[in-house]
Subunit: 162 residues, 2 copies
C-alpha cells in the first residue's frame, strides 16, 4: 500500500471528524468532541479567517483518508510566529506505514516555509506518541523546564468576565 499527503479540502472533514472521535476514544475521552463536521468546515474553510489548517493522508489507490494533522499559527513573544500541532492521528489499521511521520513532516515543511522557529504540541504522558516525538528531537518542556498546561474552561471564563 502507498499513501500520499495532501492539503485537506472541506469534503474531507466528514472523515476527519470520524477520526477526531476515534482519537478522543483512544484518549479515554469519548465525550470530548462537542463540535461536528459542519463546524470544522465553517471554521477551517468557509470563515473569512480560517482558524486551522489540515493535511490528510490518503491511500494512493483507494483514495481512502486514513490519517490527518490539524495545526494552526501561534505566536511567541520570544521567537515570533510558530505553529501548533493540535492533532496527529492515523487509523489503527493503517499504522506501521510511516504515515504519521509523513504527516508531521508535511507540517514541519510548512513551519519551515513560514519561517517558524517552533512547532509546539500537547501529549498525554502515557501516549506512545511521546516517544515518537522525542525520537524526532522534540523536547518535553513539562519535564525539562516544568511548564504546566493550564485551562480556563467555559464556566471559569464566564465568571472571570463578570
Amino acid at each position: 500500500m502507498d499513501f500520499n499527503i495532501r492539503k485537506a479540502v472541506s469534503n474531507d472533514m466528514i472523515h476527519v471528524y470520524g477520526m477526531i472521535k476515534e482519537l478522543a476514544e483512544f484518549e479515554n475521552m469519548p465525550n470530548g468532541p462537542q463540535i461536528d463536521e459542519k463546524k470544522l468546515i465553517e471554521d477551517g474553510f468557509e470563515s473569512e479567517n480560517p482558524i486551522f489548517k489540515c493535511f490528510v493522508a490518503e491511500c494512493t489507490d483507494s483514495k481512502i483518508v486514513v490519517g490527518y494533522a490539524i495545526y494552526f499559527p501561534i505566536y511567541s513573544t520570544w521567537e515570533g510566529r510558530a505553529l501548533f500541532l493540535e492533532d496527529l492521528y492515523v487509523k489503527p489499521e493503517y499504522r506501521k506505514h510511516h504515515i504519521g511521520l509523513k504527516l508531521i513532516k508535511a507540517v514541519a515543511k510548512q513551519a519551515l516555509s513560514e519561517n517558524c522557529k517552533r512547532l509546539d504540541l500537547h501529549v498525554l504522558s502515557w501516549n506512545p506518541a511521546m516517544k515518537f516525538y522525542e525520537k524526532l528531537n522534540a523536547v518535553n518542556l513539562t519535564k525539562s523546564e516544568d511548564w504546566n498546561f493550564v485551562r480556563f474552561g467555559t464556566d471559569a471564563i464566564a465568571k472571570l468576565a463578570e
Copy 2:
C-alpha cells in the same frame, strides 16, 4: 493610583517589548527574547493577518504603561475556537493593585464575546501566578490529566522537513 485597560496600539510595543524582557528575566531566561519591538509591530499591527492581540494597563494620570496581556486565537477539535494567553505581566513596582486581574478579565471578556469555550496558557510550576490562576478556577491539566507541553525547536523542524 488608578489604572485602566485598553487595546494596545503599535506605539505601545516599545513598552511591551521592555516588559517582555523583564518577564524573561523573571523566568530566568534573560536571553529568551530573540525578536524586537519592530517585529512585534509587524506581526501584531502591520501584517495583513495580525497574529496576536494585546491589552495594556496604563496609569490613568501619567499614561505610563505598566502591564500587558498578549493573546491569540487557537482551535480545539473538541470545542472549536478558543484563546491562548501567551503573556500576562505587570511591572513589579505596580503590583498589588489588581492590574493582573483587570488584564485577564479583559481577555476573558474577549473570549466570551468570541464564543470561545477555553482560555489556555502555560505557566512554570514555581511561578506564583499558578496560584493566581487556580484561584480564578483555572485547571492545571498537566497535574490533573498528565498533559505534557512538547516542542520541536528550529533544528528539529529543519531536520524533520528534510
